[in-house]
Symmetry: C2
Subunit: 196 residues, 2 copies
DNA sequence: CTAGGGTGTTACCGGTCTGTAACTTCCAGC
DNA sequence: GCTGGAAGTTACAGACCGGTAACACCCTAG
C-alpha cells in the first residue's frame, strides 16, 4: 500500500486527502469507502459522519482539487507580478511538467468519464469548475494583450486536455512530448495577429 | 432501457455489439455482465462460452471499435480518391461531427481512465490501437505534402482528444465549438511552411 | 430419425459494495 | 473528576459483482 497518508490531523481532513489521492490513482469506482478509511487510518462510521455519502465525498474531492489548482495560478502571479505574458508561459511550463510527472489525466475529466449518470451531483460541479478555469485562462490571455484571447485560451486548453489523455493512453513518450512546442508556437502565432 | 440491440444474429455478435454500446454509454465499471447479456437477449453462460472473462470482452470491444474507426478512414479515401488534402479536411469535418453527435468521449480514453491497473490487458491494446491511429493520421498529413507532418498530426490529434474530453466535462457548447476553426487554421499554417 | 453442438435456465459461490445500528472508548473543557 | 461530544469498533443489511456447475432444450447436419 502506497496509499497511506495517515499523518495526525483531523479525521475529516485525512479522509478527504486520502480519498483525493486514491481516486486520482485508482479511479472513483475503483476505490471503496472501506479502502479509503483504512488508508486514512480511521473507519467507515467516521467517514459517514462527515460526508453524507460517497457521492458527497467525490464532490468535495473535486472541489479540493480545484482549490489546489487555483492556488497554482496564484503562484504564477507571485512569480511574475503584473507580467501576464510571463504568467502564460509559466502556465505552459507547469502544464508540461504535469504531463511528465503524472501519468493519470485530469481528475475532473476522469470523473466525467466514470460518472455517466446525467444527473450525478459531480457533473454539475465539474462543469462549473472547468468553466471557472477557462475564464481564468481567457483572462490571462486577454490581459497579456492577445487579440483573440478566447480562441487562444480554448486552443491551449484543448491541447493540454488532449495531452493529458494521450499520456494516459499511449504514455508520456507519445504526442504529448510536443506540447510545449505546440503551445509556444500558438502563442507566438496569436501574438503576431494581436490587432488589439 | 434504450440498450436493447436484440436483432436476430448470432449470440456472440449480439453480446459484442451490446457490450460496445453499453460500455460506451455507461462506462466499463458501470455495466455488469448480467446487464449486458440481458440487453443482448441472452444469458451469462453464453457470454462466458464466447469470452474468457469480462476483461476479454472489454478487449474485444476495443478492437471492434478500432475496426469501425478504420472503416471510417476508408470512406475518406473512397470519397476523395488520391486527394490526401481533401481527406484530411474530411477527417476534420468527421471529427467535428462526432463532437456534436456524441456526448461521450473516446472509448479508449475512457477505458484508460477507468482501468488503472498498469498490467490490465486492455492497456496494451489501447496503446497499440492509438499508435496505429496516429500512424494513419501522420501518413495522411505527409501524403498531403505537409512538411512537419508528425507535428501537425500530433497537434490535430491532441486537439481532437481534448475536444472530446471537453464535450464530456462542460458540454458541446464549450471550447469544442471552435474545433474546426482551430484545426483548419493549423492546416493552413502548416501548409504555409511546407518546405517539402 | 438421430446425434451432437450451441443455447437457455436455474441455482449457486465467494467476494465486494454502500450505508446503518448499537455500543464502547477516548479526550478536551469545565 | 466529571461530562459531553467526537471518534473507534463490531456486526450487519441488502444489493451487486464476476464466474461456474448441472441440466434441459432445440435445431440442424448427417
Amino acid at each position: 500500500m502506497t496509499d497511506g497518508v495517515v499523518e495526525r490531523s483531523r479525521p475529516r481532513d485525512r479522509i478527504l486527502e486520502t480519498a483525493r489521492d486514491m481516486f486520482h490513482k485508482h479511479g472513483i469506482k475503483g476505490v471503496g469507502v472501506d479502502a479509503i478509511t483504512e488508508a486514512a487510518g480511521t473507519n467507515k462510521m467516521t467517514l459517514y459522519r462527515h460526508f453524507e455519502s460517497k457521492d458527497d465525498l467525490i464532490v468535495e474531492c473535486l472541489r479540493a482539487n480545484a482549490a489546489k489548482a487555483g492556488a497554482m495560478w496564484d503562484t504564477f502571479e507571485a512569480e511574475h507580478p503584473g507580467d501576464k505574458l510571463a504568467q502564460l508561459h509559466a502556465w505552459v511550463r507547469k502544464a508540461a511538467a504535469m504531463l511528465n510527472t503524472d501519468g493519470r489525466g485530469c481528475d475532473m475529466a476522469n470523473a466525467a468519464a466514470e460518472l455517466t449518470e446525467p444527473d450525478h451531483p459531480a457533473r454539475r460541479v465539474i462543469k462549473e469548475l472547468k468553466e471557472a478555469q477557462r475564464e481564468r485562462l481567457v483572462g490571462l490571455c486577454r490581459d497579456a494583450g492577445i487579440g483573440q484571447a478566447e480562441l487562444l485560451a480554448d486552443t491551449l486548453s484543448l491541447l493540454f486536455e488532449g495531452a493529458r489523455v494521450s499520456v494516459q493512453t499511449v504514455g508520456a513518450e507519445g504526442p504529448s512530448t510536443q506540447f510545449v512546442r505546440m503551445a509556444e508556437g500558438l502563442i507566438v502565432s496569436f501574438r503576431g495577429t494581436a490587432a488589439g
